[in-house]
Assembly symmetry: C2
Homo-oligomer: 340 residues x 2
């Protein structure tokens, strides 16, 4: 089905669109009261992720309630390690927890590559969303970058330093590459299926990029992101590597269309280093804690920096849970009102 609003796709393909498309990382879930009321009736986060009708419903909420230019499928990057044999729990107000983590070669041998069918519930949710959207806006599919997934498989949860995962890269670099390859192949299958189900654009999240040294990032993350990007031929690909300012220059060589910038990154520098890429971002999510005037002023200031460069407006990080939905709307309206 042809898209009625294809601003996101055209911007991703390098077009200077008549106005800047806008969406928010974490727009589905977290902030909307309509999301919270669905969530409150369920046993937990995973029930929502694994029930296609519910995942589809919360995916559509920000499109209808906030007026964003894209939907992003409600899911979690951790469905991949789970499908590979390491299941996770989502602990309220704490985050993900893996009861079993990767410690030895035996643990790694017990993993298996994702063939695709394990994650049917995601594809089904995508199909349902597409049906409901009727081409109104594009739907974004996503996955975690292999390095970020490996972080969780080793640490078993969040961490300030991810020093166990980084230790693994140092002490077991061969094994690390083995697992990273398995995650990569699994992710490729997974994303291909997302595209087959109807995803119009794919975003790869390397949430823990910024914890690696430039040398390690070059060895343990970028090549796997590249392999995934290169394998996706039918839709544009966005790579968001949070904190990887040191790798922006190398990221210009990735086979992807768009690079996401966090709120620390210098837009002028990124425009030069990433000349051939569309840029996405990068308003500080804390700006949405401000009043109408300051949100409007800072959004405009952000948009000015990208002027003349293909751009998808977004925050520089996922929207924070205690952000008021009205403030998100002010941001979205400010982007829509801006003459790009």
């Amino acid at each position: 089905m042809e898209l009625k609003n294809d601003l996101l796709i055209r911007a991703a393909k390098g077009e200077l669109t008549e106005r800047t498309p806008v969406w928010l990382m974490r727009q589905a879930g977290r902030i909307l009261p309509e999301y919270k009321s669905i969530r409150a009736k369920l046993s937990g986060f995973k029930e929502l992720v694994e029930t296609p009708e519910l995942a589809a419903e919360v995916t559509l909420q920000p499109v209808n309630l906030l007026g964003v230019d894209a939907a992003i499928i409600f899911s979690d990057i951790l469905v991949i390690p789970e499908a590979m044999g390491l299941s996770y729990e989502m602990i309220e107000k704490k985050g993900p927890h893996f009861p079993k983590t990767l410690k030895s070669e035996a643990d790694i041998k017990s993993l298996h590559k994702v063939e695709g069918g394990e994650l049917n519930y995601v594809y089904e949710a995508i199909r349902l969303v597409k049906k409901e959207l009727k081409g109104h806006v594009p739907l974004i599919g996503f996955a975690g970058a292999p390095w970020t997934i490996l972080c969780y498989m080793i640490e078993g949860g969040g961490s300030k330093t991810f020093s166990n995962a980084r230790k693994f890269l140092i002490q077991e670099s061969k094994l690390a590459h083995t697992v990273l390859s398995m995650i990569t192949d699994s992710t490729i299958k997974y994303l291909h299926n997302q595209v087959l189900a109807g995803a119009n654009l794919i975003q790869i999240f390397d949430s823990w990029a910024g914890i690696l040294s430039p040398d390690q990032y070059r060895e343990f993350s970028l090549p796997y992101i590249e392999k995934i990007s290169k394998s996706i031929l039918d839709v544009p690909v966005t790579v968001f590597a949070k904190g990887a300012y040191f790798a922006l220059k190398e990221m210009s060589n990735l086979s992807c269309n768009t690079i996401g910038l966090d709120w620390n990154m210098d837009v002028n520098e990124a425009r030069v280093l990433l000349k051939g890429k569309t840029l996405q971002g990068n308003l500080d999510p804390c700006v949405l804690y401000g009043d109408r005037d300051s949100i409007e002023i800072k959004t405009k200031k952000m948009l000015e920096k990208f002027k003349g460069h293909p751009h998808i407006a977004n925050l520089g990080h996922g929207v924070y849970p205690d952000t008021h939905p009205d403030h998100v709307k002010i941001f979205i309206e400010a982007v829509k009102a801006f003459k790009a």
Copy 2:
């Protein structure tokens, strides 16, 4: 008393020393079994910080056991908010916790500036260390940067995003400046007293620099660091702003001698941006998880990058708690063996 080993001080003052001085952030405490056995006998971390004889003892351990070129006083950056009226607890394996945090103007009114005497136990520990050191190596004193201290006073502990502290900057920017000024004045008193007690160099830790946007860093952190740096006339000052790669250029204008680099930062770029400053750092602390060969190779590679620029060797972050002391020694010996 004249210093027998003044490599650190000469390097800080911009000299290309005959060999590179070396010390480690968090060298006192954490990793040494000799530290752990003292710590095990006590009620908690704070007893150690607040008992000058014990703080002095663990301060001296790395000098004697590891052969570093400087001691750093065993203490905590959170003694400042405590002396201002917000006391903290140190929770085993979790980190600091403030039972009371700053929420309103009334909370801020209940704070008071540090006059100096509140932290006598730190100065006493410094005097004891100096007496024991007999000029063998210099002693580093330290404090947190006002922004980092404010983070803890508002969040009440560690955080992934410090979004409450950042929200405070947006919603209560005037109050934020009021508290930052109070912290700054308190820190100046505190550091002056450290110098009077015998500290030979002062380091300011801005641990949460990297969470701010460049604009906010310019408004809410740098001016206060500058005020502190400028006030210290008798000894060299080092500023370590973790993650503030975006501010390196502006940091060249600070009234400090040395800028610390974390392990993500590009040394070549820093050498250019910080031409007039000594640089400190920046080995990835995870390198110390490797074997002898790889530690030696990577240490040498790091040192080569700084060659010809005034340099103090260090890790790019505090040494991680599960690092083997023998590996720290390999690092230190590799620095000492290097022909600068």
